[in-house]
Each structure stands twice: as structure tokens, then as C-alpha cells.
Amino acid sequence: MFTFILRRLGLLIPTFFGITLLTFGLIRMIPGDPVEVMMGERSLDPQMHAEALHRLGLDKPLYAQYFDYLGNLFQGNLGESLVTRESVWTEFTTLFPATLELALCAMLFACVLGLLAGVLAAIKRGSLFDHGVMGLALTGFSMPIFWWGLVLIMFFSVTLGWTPVSGRLDLMFDIPPDTGFMLIDAWRAEAADPEYNAGAFKDALMHLILPSIVLGTIPLAVIARMTRSSMLEVMQEDYVRTARAKGLSPARVIFVHTLRNALIPVLTVMGLQVGVLMGGAVLTETIFSWPGIGKWLIDAIGRRDYPIVQNGILIVATLVILTNFVVDILYGIANPRIRHAK
């Protein structure tokens, strides 16, 4: 097991270098530097331009900038935003809880509904329910996030008035972001002053519903389809037939003998969905004015805020890689054939 983990870790190092090179190169390939972008229609004073580039260290040759960047990275220095001049790490830690909260809720929504729908569809294979669920899953998978978000807002928030349009909390509540997780902050604030902050927790919860649905839709569809096909495969196995022949209850056969084994590939898919969630978060956060890292990165690209783009993407990529690393290990634990391969 130990060598298995080491081998997996070893693979991470070239991946990290690849990411640093890619983000460093890609953002610089987009024309325009931060100063030019800020000036817009205005004429740019060449002297001021040169001074600004010098201050930002952007007048050095590209390779020198890259080595500076790597050097800083090894010292744990992620640099500061060229625009706001806050440290990248501070900005990241301020915004990340919002994304994490949203991603966890979306994943919860996707896993619970996805597993349930997948299992039921597999049991009732070929029925109207099966076709309906799989049809819906395909639709969900192909739904453009932007459009889907706006449709839900128009229907549930504006027409029916059930949910708030966007944001994380009604702005009439003034709750400082102690943990950054709005559910926790709102709950604590309400506990501290139940009268003045009445309804804050419920309000935070209401704000989470639509974005979680929107962000969770694609993973939900993938998980449902994967669960169904994996279940169908396992249901054909001899040991399931044996279990049935032994006279076990259908529920026991499905949930203990079938689902448990069918979950292995689903687990991998869930791990991969973390990457999808991060990608989806960019759009979902934009629609729902959700102050997370997706929106942060998009703004940074627009403003050519190199340190944020480079290091923000690096952190996100690291998180995605680590999640998959953990999934790999879990997978190894669940299936000894994997860890003993080679």
C-alpha cells in the first residue's frame, strides 16, 4: 500500500510543473498587460506604462519571470494581486469557503439523487421510469449551465417568489464572515442574537438551493447513468444470483451485495466530478453572484491579474489532483487488485 501511495505521489510532481508552465504561458499569451487593460480608451503614457511594468516586475524577460515565480512558489509565496494588491493566499482563503460550501451542497444533491435514481432505474430496467430517468439525465447533462440557472431564477425566484435571486444571504443581515461558510456563520450569528438575526440560517439555506441544483445537475446526471450501468453489470454477477438463490430479501441483495460492488466505478466518477464542479462553479458563481473562486478567476483573467490566474488555477488544480489521489487510494482500499497491479 505504501509503495502504491508513493508511486501515485511521484506522478504528482511533473503534473505540478506542467500546471505552472501552462498557466504562466497561457495567461501571457492573451494580448494586453494589466496596465493596458485598465486604461481602456485612454491613451497610455509610455513613461507611466514603463514604470508600472517595472513595479509589477513585468519588464523582465519571460524566463526570468517564470523562474521568479517558481522561486517564490517554493518559498510558499503566492504573490499579490496586481490590481487589488492583496496577497493571493488571503484572497483565496476569503473566497474558497463560499465555493466549497456550494460544491459540497451540489455534490450532496447530486450523490443522493443520482444514486437513488440510478439504483431505481437499474431495478426497473426497461420500464417507463427507467427511460424517463435516463432521458432526464441526458437532458441534464447537456443543459447549458447559464441558461439553466436563469430559467430557475425566473421561475422559482421571480415568478413564484420561493427562493432569493442571488447572493449568499439577504443583505439586510450584517453577518461578518468568521468562518466564510455562510451556513455556519449565519447559524452562529442567530444563536448569538436570536432576535436581531432571526431567520438568518434559513435565509442562508434558501440562498443555497438554486445554485446547488444548477451546479449539481451535470454530476447528478453522470452519477445516475453510471450507477445504473454499473448496477446492471453487477446484477448479472454469479454472486448476486447466489445471494438471490440463498433467499435473501431483495433489499439486502440490492443494497448489500449489488450496490456496494457497483459503487467502485461510481466512486471514481465522483472523484472526477470534483474537477467538473470547479469548472461549473465558474459559471454558477457568475449567475448567482456567489463570491467564490470561480468568479475570482474569471475576473482575474479579464484584468490580466497574472499572479491570481497562475496561483489560483494552481491551487484549484492541486485540490482536484489531491481529491483524485484520495479517490485512487480509496479505490485501492476497496479493490485490492488495483493496488497490487504491477
Binding site: 491613451s43 473566497l95 432569493p164 435571486v165 447572493g167 443583505l171 461578518p176
Partner: protein
């Protein structure tokens, strides 16, 4: 938090606020329980206004930035300037300076400063003195002097200050006594007072800056602003909200009608429109033309319309051989069907432009009219210029939506069709925005769609900045340097008599019209939606959003 602050700052006359808020909360709870209200957002505490802004500010030091979103969040709320634009107009009124005198040679400006103006406090700073000449000196010395200790500790550029030419023109700023400051200019600048009213000239506290310098945190000047303005900065949560409290000690008490002002940062325009409809914000930054009809149809929303202080135009690069010929430019000018563009691109939210500056700019020459749409005559002019079967050229279209042009790509396509009718084959070119501007300033284009929003309400900001010889390597996108025109504009710049300046500019506009370096297309109309419970909101001609003097019912 804000609540406690406002209570502590109030006297016993206003303790009912908490009671009122509690009653409202309780009522709201009852309503929610009764299923009458879906969310807590439906009720608003008295005196709180929520404004849906379009983006997070880059920072809170107005001198460092250029965009309206940055100025709304700092200059328009936290700060004051020596002189200010009257709310909703381009007229300059006294601000932190009560009065000023100008020397006979128009180069020395002496300002008498207002007494008893208090700077805000925050958790780490409490002012020990009122506003005085040291604050004015600090504000301007930091921008002028590259070796200023604060600038050494916290290096930054001052793009707007530089862009308006103040770094080169102010020779010194002196304190005559604690309430008197003197500015000496190298050259006469008739727009100097206007320039001082602009957001970047917001007055910082020298005392606060000194304290930040001592504690080694100079960057807090940009993160935790301290000013004298109508709203006190409370808290900023990136990409989510900015909270301000009404300044109870403001020197113009009538301007502070709100207890709390909250900026909700909502980047997507459709979502802003939905939030406004649902009452989650009371004012939003201007909507897209496409969202306007449904907003106007809402009985709870007022849409305040005002002609924009802007111009969308097409500039012809006269350095290119074909476009160097006057007849060619005239032909292209009259080949454009402006009415069709107005209805398709601006969707009614625009006004046809006759002249190279907006009609609300003083010195605007009303006698100048747009050339009539006449493809036949245009074709004849082209033939006369030696291009009977037309020619090929590039037509650049902006990749972004701007206040003066909501859809440059569509506008370019329509103009391409118009030009095709006279045999001119226009190839539409576009680049990423930063690259577009860089190449345009270098003059790589033939014809280009571009525009401008006025900075300071002075005609020089249009006539010299966009069409003058000084700007040929910058924002003069026609690269047109025409001496008779430039002489008039330069003379007007150093003339302080408004009537005389108007005459000079009126004449310059005639020359501009006859030489056709540009075709003015449209001035977009600013449509500002506000909910009906918002009182006395005024639309700024500069596209800013200010909430002093605004109340909620």
C-alpha cells in the same frame, strides 16, 4: 456591527430605530410563518438602500483607478474633493474648498478651505484634528512627487492624474495657512477646476496616511479608506458586498438620508434585473437594452432616462491613402444609415449624433447637422475621388459592450452592408479589448468603431483629447492633425472666458464637420431603473452612481 455603530453615534433622540427594526423583523417572521413572504429579503429596514453594482472595486484609493465601479465605491461615497460636480450635472460647486480665486494670468489658484470638516474613524484610526491644508498637500504631493515618502512605501501610478495632464502642468502646491492652499500651474488650463472635481482628486487624510506609514501598513489606504464623505466605509467582502454607514458628522447633513448603504456585487446584467424586480436591490447599475422593456413594465420600478454624456462614433484613419481623401470620408459619412443603426443597436435607447460631442456639453454647436443618408451621392463622391468601383478597407469593431455602444459587432455588420452599397468592401476586424486599444492607438486600422464618455464636463476633454494634434499617437483615432482646427482648440484651452471659449469651439466644430475625420453615430441614453420607494436619485452624466441626497421610503 453597523447597527451598534450607528446607535453609538446617535443621541437619545433616535433609539427607536432598533425598536423599529425589531418590530419589522417580528412582522416579517409572522409573515413568513403565514406563508405570505417567501424570503427574508422582502422587508427592508428603514434607511437602508441596497445598490446592485456590476463588479468588485479594484480598491478604495480613487487616485489609482479609472473605472466608474471603482469611483462609485470610494470617491462617491467615502470621499470629497476640493470642488465637486453638482449631483446629476456637469456644473462645478464648492466642496472641501469654500471658495477660490484665480490670478490675472490664470495660472495661480488659491483655495479657501472649509472649517470643521471631520474625517471618518475606523477601528485603528481616530482623527485628532479636522480637515486642513495638510490633507490637500498630502493628496496632491503623493501624485506629483515620485520621491514622496508615502509613494516610496506604497508605490503606485496615478493614471487619471497623468491622463488629464496634471502631473506635467501643476508646478507646485503650497500651504499658505492651515485653511488656504495655492496651486501654481505651468500653463493656463481652462479646465483645471473641472479636473479637480473628478474622482481621482479625492482628498485623503494626511494624518491617517502618516499613521499607516508608521505602522508599516500603507496599503491599508487602498483597503480601509478614510475620507470626509457622506458615507463611512464599514466592511468589504470581495465579490459579495460593500457596507457603508451614513456619516452622522457630515458637513452637509442634509445629504445623508440613509442609515446604511450596501453595494451588492452582481456581475450578470440579467440577474441584476431580476434582483431589482424582486426588490433585493433598490437601484442597479444601467441595464442592457434587452432587459429594459420588462423592467419598464414593472409597476414598482421607475426608469429615469437621461441623455448620456457620451458619443459612439466611427473614426477614419487619415494616414491611410484612401481615407486621406476628403471625398472618400464624405462618401463613407453619408453612406451610413444611422436611423437603422439606432433602432437595431441601441433599441431606442439612443439619440442620433449630429456632432462630435454630446448636446449636453456646453459650447455644443447646434447648427451642425448630421449628413443625410444618400448612397447615390456617396457613390458619386467616391468616383470623383478616383474610386468608381470602390475599394477594400478594414472596419474595426470593439469586442466589448461600452456605455456608448451596446453592440459594436452588430453596428459593424450594418455599416458593412451600407458600405457595400457604394462598392466599399469593409472587412470586420476585432481583437481582444486590450489589444484592440493598443493597435488602434498605433493606427493599424482603416476605420474603427470607438467612443468616449466625458470625464470632466469640459469641451477640451472632447475636442483636444479625441481630435487634437497632441493625441495623434493616443486617443485621436483618426490620426487627424489639422492645423486650423488645432489652433482654435489650443487657443480655447488657454482662454478662461466661457463665452469666448464657446465661440472658438463652435468654429472648431464646423471645421471638424467639414473635414469628416469621424462620423458621429449616436449618444446612448442612460436608463437608470430605481424602485419607486427610492427618493431623489439623480443620474450622473458621467455614469457614476452617487447616493448622497438619496433616501428610501
Amino acid at each position: 456591527m453597523y447597527f451598534e455603530c450607528s446607535v453609538s453615534a446617535q443621541t437619545a433622540a433616535i433609539p427607536s430605530k432598533r425598536e423599529v427594526e425589531l418590530i419589522m423583523k417580528k412582522t416579517r417572521k409572522l409573515l413568513i410563518a403565514a406563508g405570505l413572504l417567501a424570503s427574508a429579503a422582502a422587508s427592508q429596514a428603514a434607511g437602508t438602500l441596497i445598490y446592485c453594482s456590476e463588479s468588485s472595486p479594484s480598491g478604495f484609493d480613487p487616485a489609482q483607478y479609472l473605472s466608474g465601479a471603482d469611483f462609485d465605491a470610494s470617491a462617491e461615497t467615502v470621499f470629497n474633493r476640493l470642488v465637486e460636480f453638482e449631483r446629476g450635472s456637469t456644473k462645478v460647486i464648492p466642496g472641501l474648498a469654500e471658495s477660490w480665486t484665480i490670478s490675472p494670468d490664470n495660472k495661480v489658484y488659491t483655495f479657501k478651505l472649509r472649517r470643521g470638516v471631520k474625517f471618518h474613524s475606523n477601528e485603528s484610526f481616530t482623527p485628532a484634528r479636522d480637515f486642513n491644508a495638510d490633507d490637500v498637500l498630502f493628496t496632491f504631493q503623493r501624485m506629483l512627487d515620485k520621491n514622496h515618502p508615502f509613494r516610496k512605501a506604497y508605490p503606485t501610478e496615478f493614471p487619471y492624474f497623468t491622463d488629464m495632464g496634471l502631473d506635467g502642468n501643476i508646478s507646485k502646491v503650497e500651504k499658505l495657512d492651515p485653511q488656504t492652499v495655492r496651486f501654481t500651474l505651468k500653463n493656463v488650463d481652462a479646465a483645471f477646476i473641472q479636473n479637480l472635481a473628478m474622482s481621482f482628486a479625492s482628498i485623503q487624510s494626511a494624518e491617517y496616511a502618516g499613521q499607516l506609514l508608521k505602522s508599516g501598513k500603507p496599503s491599508d489606504l487602498n483597503q480601509k479608506p478614510i475620507g470626509t464623505g457622506p458615507f463611512v466605509f464599514k466592511r468589504y467582502q470581495k465579490d459579495a458586498q460593500i457596507r457603508y454607514a451614513g456619516n452622522k458628522q457630515y458637513w452637509k447633513p442634509a445629504d445623508v438620508k440613509l442609515d446604511n448603504l450596501v453595494f451588492a456585487i452582481v456581475t450578470d446584467p440579467s440577474v441584476r434585473a431580476q434582483k431589482l424586480k424582486k426588490g433585493e436591490c433598490q437601484v442597479t447599475v444601467y441595464p442592457r437594452p434587452a432587459d429594459l422593456p420588462s423592467i419598464k413594465a414593472d409597476p414598482k420600478i421607475n426608469v429615469i432616462s437621461k441623455p448620456g454624456f457620451n458619443l459612439g462614433y466611427v473614426a477614419y484613419n487619415v494616414k491611410k491613402p484612401q481615407l486621406a481623401k476628403l471625398e472618400v470620408r464624405q462618401a463613407l459619412d453619408m453612406a451610413i444609415n444611422k436611423d437603422a443603426i439606432l433602432s437595431a443597436v441601441y433599441q431606442g435607447a439612443g439619440q442620433k449624433a449630429d456632432n462630435a460631442l454630446p448636446p449636453t456639453q456646453w459650447s455644443y454647436n447646434k447648427a451642425i447637422k448630421s449628413s443625410a443618408y444618400d448612397p447615390a451621392k456617396a457613390k458619386a463622391l467616391l468616383a470623383k475621388a478616383g474610386y468608381p468601383s470602390g475599394f477594400e478597407m478594414t472596419l474595426w469593431a470593439m469586442p466589448v459592450q461600452r456605455p456608448y455602444n451596446p453592440n459594436a459587432k452588430l453596428m459593424a455588420e450594418m455599416m458593412q452592408a451600407d458600405y457595400a452599397k457604394i462598392g466599399v468592401k469593409a472587412k470586420i476586424v476585432t481583437y481582444e479589448w486590450g489589444e484592440y486599444m493598443k493597435r488602434a492607438m498605433k493606427g493599424e486600422h482603416d476605420a474603427i468603431l470607438i467612443g468616449w464618455t466625458g470625464d470632466n464636463g469640459d469641451p477640451d476633454n472632447w475636442m483636444n483629447n479625441l481630435y487634437g494634434c497632441d493625441s495623434v499617437s493616443g486617443s485621436n483615432y483618426s490620426k487627424w492633425c489639422y492645423k486650423p482646427f488645432d489652433d482654435l482648440v489650443q487657443k480655447a484651452k488657454v482662454t478662461t472666458n466661457v463665452a469666448e471659449r464657446s465661440k472658438l469651439y463652435a468654429k472648431a466644430q464646423e471645421i471638424l464637420k467639414s473635414q469628416v475625420p469621424i462620423t458621429p453615430i449616436a449618444h446612448s441614453t442612460i436608463n437608470q431603473p430605481v424602485r419607486k420607494n427610492v427618493e431623489s436619485f439623480k443620474v450622473s452624466p458621467f455614469g457614476l452612481n452617487a447616493f448622497y441626497g438619496v433616501g428610501v421610503k
